[in-house]
Subunit: 178 residues, 2 copies
DNA sequence: ACGGACATGTAACGAGTTACATGATTAT
DNA sequence: ATAATCATGTAACTCGTTACATGTCCGT
């Protein structure tokens, strides 16, 4: 049920197509949500059918037509209502931690490899969040103030990655000792 | 695909029924995985059908029969193989952060309420992880050493909650100022 | 009498993934 | 030529949630 509100939130900030949306998910909310383009299109169709979105087809020179979606009044009302509801609890699903939990099946070297691989991924994530954060800092201060809570969600993503990285480095040190 | 290995991991440590498993998920891996009892039963049936689990029915005095599952050799082999594979990337889905991202629809007071509600939940989680951690520390040192990597996953859960709580407290301070 | 713990399940649905499909433009 | 980017979609499947169903024992 949350994907639809993520879609409404981004389209509320700025209208766009399914394709745009997919990229914006990757660039601006990847620290707390992800979705495939198939999910986007399915959700856009539904939201449109339910009257929460308007759609205008824009022919483009040399490119396929673009279906630009924007919120209807009903869409804005639905979003404004939802943000006030208690949020459904998030479900944690971290396959890597299952592997570590079953780590007695791994040699010291194998455990080291597994953790290192994850560590690299999290360093890359931190890097991309920091770049996003810089882009935000260089944007219009009026927008920054309007969307300061959105900025705080990114700050949490950054802190979470730092915590993760520090933890993984600790594990590697222990695996390298004795 | 990961639930099945979470199930295999716990049954590898100690055999048990679907009902047992559900509670063990809540008590010992809730910091990185959760599943409903329906998922457990469905997965147990499949794993049994595929020959990765043995099942022995144990009649109990005054209680329903219990189907106790344990790993077959094929099950242990499948688990040992999987733990060495690169872990599938985790998907982050945090509905609460969508709400904050759309936080310009909230009054200062509403934002404060929303964050406070989440903060309480995370404090409760931290509390339960700390209790788990104490139980681990009071257990057999030989087991602690055998499963030290499992212990580290709990340490990460604790650090992650602390990061989260510090962040939320910061937001609340900002909402209370000016 | 009622709720909670114990114990296992079915059915229906919604969410998410994977594979496939189409077709134009731009850059190498 | 070949790959990448732009742009939208269908079909089939698995995973996860919600609701429903059954029945015993124990404590209050």
């Amino acid at each position: 049920m949350s994907l639809r509100y993520a879609v409404l939130t981004l389209l509320d900030i700025e209208p766009g197509s399914g394709y745009d949306l997919k990229r914006r998910f990757e660039r601006s909310v990847s620290h707390f949500w992800s979705a495939s383009h198939q999910q986007m299109y399915r959700e856009l169709h539904r939201l449109h059918a339910e009257g929460l979105l308007d759609c205008s087809e824009q022919p483009q020179a040399g490119k396929p037509d673009k279906k630009v979606y924007s919120l209807t009044d009903a869409g804005r009302a639905a979003l404004a209502d939802w943000v006030q509801q208690p949020a459904p609890a998030q479900k944690i699903r971290e396959p890597f931690l299952i592997q570590l939990f079953a780590g007695h099946h791994l040699s010291r070297q194998q455990a080291h490899d597994t953790v290192s691989r994850q560590l690299e991924q999290h360093r890359a994530l931190l890097q991309s969040y920091l770049e996003q954060s810089e882009r935000v800092e260089q944007s219009d201060p009026a927008l920054q103030e309007r969307y300061w809570l959105a900025g705080e969600t990114l700050a949490l993503g950054i802190e979470a990655e730092r915590t993760w990285i520090a933890w993984a480095e600790g594990i590697l040190r222990k695996l390298e000792q004795d």
